[in-house]
């Protein structure tokens, strides 16, 4: 995944990760690696922006679930926003929307940490 496909910015103590590529298994590995690097840098609150994603597979959803669970062990969390309807359907079908908090907008996702 080229660097520009995964960009990161900060809002207070929250890291916002903008994903600008579709997420198949290859890209999922890069996403997992990028998120784990953030955890290694002591990030505890992460918001993932999926507005730029038109396709996601189960491996990528699993990467988000795995990272969210790891962050919760440190009293942090990973929240997701910008899921198109068909992307949300994938989360629903595999049960990930029971585990991950999905938000409509960046503002609401950030507010979820307050």
């Amino acid at each position: 995944m080229p660097t520009k496909s995964l960009t990161m910015r900060e809002d207070s103590d929250v890291i916002i990760v903008d994903v600008n590529t579709d997420l198949g298994s290859y890209e999922a590995a890069e996403l997992r690696r990028g998120l784990q690097e953030l955890i290694g840098q002591e990030a505890e609150k992460i918001v993932v922006n999926l507005n730029g994603v038109q396709h996601i597979n189960s491996t990528a959803v699993g990467a988000l679930v795995g990272v969210a669970k790891r962050l919760r062990q440190k009293s942090g969390d990973l929240k997701v926003f910008g899921t198109a309807d068909h992307i949300k359907r994938t989360f629903d079908m595999i049960g990930a929307s029971r585990v991950l908090e999905l938000y409509e907008s960046e503002t609401s996702a950030l507010a979820g940490f307050k």
Binding site: G24, S25, H55, N57, G62, V65, G66, H86, I94
Partner: protein, 151 residues
């Protein structure tokens, strides 16, 4: 009219997105809806990723795909070579057991479930290479012309 398109790709996840772009365009040309195009893309992604991760002894082994289109459906055959074991990795019995043990919301093990749910038909057969043939079918729902006239 029936047409077949054969593709062969290295067993590398890097190339799956290119296959998906092709499949999406083909589904659009055949006349599938946007929703169905999303489903087709998801299913082919899951099946190809599994074939590469679990059904390939090396990157050079390769995955063979055959797209068979006719006026009523799109059928996709994904053939892997197996991992040098006597039996193919994916069998109907294994899938049934696996789906029973699947935990919703866990971080792995949903690919086959998604593929089965999103396709109209999916079957797995051992092949002569020691691998698995996964055949997935998507029916083309044709809206009768009369329906258009009533709108």
């Amino acid at each position: 009219m029936q047409e077949y398109i054969d593709l062969k790709m290295p067993s590398r996840l890097l190339y799956v997105s290119s296959i998906l772009a092709f499949a999406r365009r083909l589904a659009q040309q055949i006349g599938f809806s946007q929703t169905r195009m999303n489903d087709i893309t998801s299913v082919i992604d899951e099946v190809c990723s599994n074939a590469i991760e679990h059904g390939s002894p090396s990157e050079t082994a390769g995955i063979d795909l055959t797209f068979h289109c006719d006026s009523s459906q799109l059928e996709v055959l994904v053939r892997d070579k197996g991992q040098n074991s006597e039996n193919s990795w994916l069998t109907e019995g294994w899938v049934d057991e696996f789906l029973t043990r699947r935990t919703p919301g866990s971080d792995r093990g949903h690919g086959v479930y998604l593929a089965k749910k999103l396709s109209d038909h999916m079957e797995m057969q051992p092949n002569t290479h020691g691998g698995t043939d996964v055949r997935i079918t998507f029916s083309l729902v044709v809206i009768p012309e009369s329906v258009y006239h009533t709108v």
